[in-house]
């Protein structure tokens, strides 16, 4: 009886649909990752609805309320111009969501494009591209970002494109290695032998099978982009003030007032840490569920 019950249970589990099946596994096997996912979604919602959630305007100056410690009226306190820190943090989330998703999206697209082409075609193109990626990866991300921003100037579009390019080239390695292992599968050889065109094979056979690392790559990239952008803004090379970026709030004029209002140093850093921590946890859980082979890689 026990033997017969097993396939039945399996069949029942399958019939729930892939999304519910995935969510079930996530919450059962990776509670911490699931918690990270929940925080990630909350962060997204905060970013999308920042305009409605923020009690004050992000650049609303009120001289009477300069440097007020956290209270019911100002849960995160106010800064040296009397701007509400909670509202600024919420709008900071919005900037982070926009930059994070756009740059991670661009990076993932580029990684997939480069990775699939070089991994599937191989040969000379692959060899040259790989040497280029080698050289590219020997420059620290932050240094490339600083140099590029110094050339193209600070601003949101520049940062999105630069981060997208930067991470896209580096990430192509991960997709490429996934493609190389998929390429040798029987069904790919079968498709080749019935004369399917290369784009068709790439689209119908390779791409769907490298989807798991792509999803994991995208998720972890969002966290990385948010950290990198805040680092740049901290150095005064990110989105220019008065835009309330989390990194920017920790530097510039805010910095000189931190000794009078230490809460200025807390809120933006906490937001950053919690969001990036949650994304990392969620990304790790996704990786373990989708693609155990990638465990332990960055």
């Amino acid at each position: 009886m026990a033997v017969a019950a097993e396939p039945l249970a399996l069949a029942r589990r399958r019939s729930r649909g892939p999304v519910r099946h995935f969510l079930g596994r996530l919450f059962r096997e990776k509670p911490l990752g699931a918690a990270g996912g929940v925080v990630f979604i909350l962060f997204l919602l905060c970013g999308i609805f920042a305009d409605f959630l923020a009690p004050y305007g992000m650049n609303e100056i009120s001289p009477i309320n300069r440097l007020k410690p956290p209270s019911w009226a100002f849960p995160f306190g106010t800064d040296n111009l009397g701007r509400d820190m909670l509202s600024r943090c919420l709008h900071g989330a919005q900037l982070s969501v926009i930059i994070g998703f756009c740059a991670a999206g661009l990076a993932t697209f580029l990684s997939v494009f480069l990775g699939i082409i070089t991994g599937y075609l191989g040969g000379k193109v692959d060899l040259i591209v790989q040497r280029f990626v080698d050289a590219w990866q020997s420059f620290p991300d932050l240094i490339i970002l600083i140099v590029v921003v110094s050339v193209v100037g600070p601003g949101m579009p520049q940062i999105i494109v630069t981060l997208g390019l930067l991470l896209g080239i580096a990430g192509s390695r991960i997709i490429r290695s996934a493609v190389v292992s998929v390429r040798e599968n029987m069904y790919v050889h079968a498709a080749q032998s019935i004369g399917a065109s290369t784009p068709w094979i790439l689209w119908r056979h390779i791409l769907p099978n490298v989807m798991p690392p792509i999803i994991v790559l995208f998720t972890t990239r969002v966290g990385f982009v948010i950290l990198a952008e805040s680092g740049l803004s901290f150095l005064g090379l990110g989105v220019p003030p008065p835009a309330p970026t989390w990194g920017g709030m920790l530097s510039g004029s805010g910095r000189t007032f931190m000794f009078q209002g230490p809460w200025l140093a807390l809120a933006p850093g906490l937001c950053l840490t919690v969001v990036v921590y949650a994304i990392n946890m969620f990304g790790d859980a996704l990786r373990d569920i989708f693609d155990p082979r990638l465990r332990g890689s960055r």
Binding site: R131, A135, I143, V151, L235, S251, P268, T273
Partner: protein, 318 residues
Amino acid sequence: MQAYIVRRLLALVPTLFFASLIVFVTVRLMPGSVIDLMLSQNDISADKMSRDQLIAALGLDKPMWEQYFRWAGGILLHGDFGRSLWQNTPVAELLAARLPVTFQLGLMALIVALTVAIPIGAYSAMRQDTAGDYVGRSFSILMLAVPSFWMGTMVMVFPSIWWGWSPRIMFVPFREHPLHNLAHLIVPAVILGTSLSAVTMRLTRTMMLEVLRQDYIRTAWAKGLSEKLIVTRHALRNALIPVVTLIGIQAPLLIGGAVIMEQIFVIPGMGLLLLDAVYQRDYPIVTGVFLIVGVAVMLINLLVDLTYGLLDPKVRYR
């Protein structure tokens, strides 16, 4: 081993070529408006350069390929990185003065990272799935998420409010006063080191888990050796070989992190040189730092690979 070294050195040539191209092209992407900006920003300093003079000083008046060969040739043949636009000092001199400082900071951070990561990683593996393991692993992911510039800011702000103590921000060269020098660099090194330790710790744990399941460990247990001896003599030694490669992988992170630490703690290293040059739009310095950092990372990776070959004889014959 010799053949291996030669092979690795030869493989470096195309990578170096591409790296120099990346540096060259990136800085040449500069739009014309930046040159106007440079002129308006700096017209008080220097001796009133005209637009044409500035373009000539940047070497932008010649065809692209000629510029590249002049620039690369100057570096390869004479070690000539050009001159700073506004201070007129040779960039090579500035680089030589700043490089050892960043190197020292990086080395100190690396030592901190390894002393934090290896014991915790080994412990986590030995007590797999216990509370201690979970605490260690959560700590490591948390350290990945805490931005080092936030940590640095808090270290500057809170101790000074609570206890009236703040970290030194007066740089003294190591040769002049070693103790003051270390007292200045230790705080940024600890911050940078702990944030780097996360990845090392995870790798140490993974490798230890694998090694602890090997037959020779079971034999060691069967011989009745103490846990301490098994871990230090048998397990850790083998588990740490791959950890060496991680040092090479982390070199870019280390240098990138050093930029931020140098900025917060006012350490006159490569990072601060780069940032000042960026703020002043002194492109010869930017180009010089950019190239040197890339080459340094490549050389560190080469060294790591060679060490790895020494540690693990299997690698040499591949």
